[in-house]
Symmetry: C2
């Protein structure tokens, strides 16, 4: 019953008490403190490079495809010709990489982005995403993607009602939002609150989707995928396929089938999230 693993990184947090996922460290590549968070980057022995913020794994090279592709293409493949897309968070640049697969996109804004990017269509804003959104012109975005860390520390506001209200205001009628929304295995009470807030604010459609990410706690992560009042959006049946466009390298995870399947919930989650259909 030994549990002593020197030379490994263990992710321990009050957000998931009593369990920890550990990765073997080959080399620490960066350790430092930004204005907002403690930042560690290390080379792991089997998951490639790993980014850790405040002790929590944000991405590994081996499985980041699942999170980045799903949080981006679930909203963008659900509407025709997304042009103006706002990404809040997403500092690692992975969501941006995925947004770029959509050739219709003309312009994006990236508050809180830590990694710069060359695409001339990108407008980069480093600052407070909540304040940025408050000042955004009403009805200006086709889609907003909120790639945030967990709701403790700097990202807490991104899970609260005023933030969702700002999102709804900044979206065009029938615009879509996709936000990181925790794990059905660990955080049903948080999810229940988010769903309840979203039902009050997004008058088009409110949905929960999930995917597998091995290095996230419990091995899954969920998304709130909502639309504002306006042209209806049927998130379960994507109408804007990108499966075929592999000019930017093949998609590793996303396809139209896994898009639809992501909205199918285990019974224990369905009873809480979508009681009217369970």
């Amino acid at each position: 019953m030994s549990a002593i693993i020197p030379g490994w990184f263990s992710e321990i947090s009050p957000m998931w008490p009593g369990e920890a996922h550990s990765l073997k460290v080959e080399q620490i590549l960066f350790q430092g403190k930004s204005d907002y968070q403690n930042v560690v980057v290390f080379q792991s022995s089997t998951y490639g490079k790993v980014l850790v913020l405040d002790g929590v794994i944000q991405l590994t090279e081996r499985d980041e495809c699942a999170y980045q592709e799903m949080i981006t293409h679930l909203p963008l493949c659900s509407i025709p010709n997304p042009k103006k897309v706002l990404v809040i968070g997403g500092g690692d640049g992975g969501v941006l990489r995925e947004v770029e697969r959509h050739s219709s996109v003309s312009k994006q804004f990236f508050p809180n982005v830590a990694v710069g990017y060359d695409d001339p269509r990108v407008n980069l804003h480093i600052g407070d995403g909540v304040a940025f959104l408050k000042n955004a012109a009403e009805g200006s975005y086709d889609a907003i993607i909120v790639d945030s860390s967990d709701p403790i520390g700097p990202a807490q506001e991104l899970f609260e009602k005023p933030f969702f209200e700002s999102i709804a205001r900044a979206l065009r009628p029938g615009g879509v939002v996709c936000t990181q929304a925790e794990s059905i295995w660990l955080h049903m009470h948080i999810i229940e609150d988010i769903v309840s807030n979203c039902r009050q604010i997004f008058k088009g459609s409110v949905n929960y989707a999930w995917t597998t990410v091995p290095t996230y706690p419990s091995g899954v992560i969920g998304f709130m995928v909502c639309s504002t009042e306006g042209p209806p959006v049927d998130f379960r049946h994507p109408l804007n396929p990108i499966d075929g466009d592999e000019s930017r390298g093949p998609l590793k995870f996303y396809n139209a089938e896994i898009h639809s399947a992501a909205f199918c919930l285990p019974s224990f989650a369905k009873r809480v999230i979508a009681p009217e259909t369970s």
Copy 2:
């Protein structure tokens, strides 16, 4: 970067090098050695009781529903009126609990079962599942469920071609099998071999499905779900619903939607497992 966690159980194995999942131990309830494996049962602080065989977590009370319900109902909900069902492995009794939800089932055999069971429909055989199957009458089962541990140690034979041939022989025409088939994130090479073997042996339909189980390595586990030549079986569209029958307590995980969704694979897995459709 501390990784020293005294009082925790850490699952370390050459089957998933460079990563480990750990659970906090409240109390060790049993430690011993069977003829085949080392057995540990402990009370964890947040996942209920945990069964460990040869250092590998087999089930926790918190998430066993996902595995047990899926490995049982994926095959049994895909055929009308399953009557004769063989369970190989499944020593913890969880698969048996799920089989019992199907009122059509008349008789079952349980080689290698560690936990006895009272249902008068159960015939219990303690012994070698491989030998048992070799001696089984040809064409005698509607369904066979192979609830095995990983393909190192005593369960290795359960992943090899002769065993699959025995299964095909013991099933009736159009009979179905569901076997534990590892993780798409960790073991694509093993899965590729299993799929290739199954394509040669099962002349009805050969499919891979997966589900989320937080305490299994990488957070997912897969299943080979196949049928023999005979009446065709459309595994993706279950025709034998049990969603409504909650006389034995509600299903925690399984429902008809998650059944169909389980067959939708991420692109990286689809390219290997189902290249003709990706």
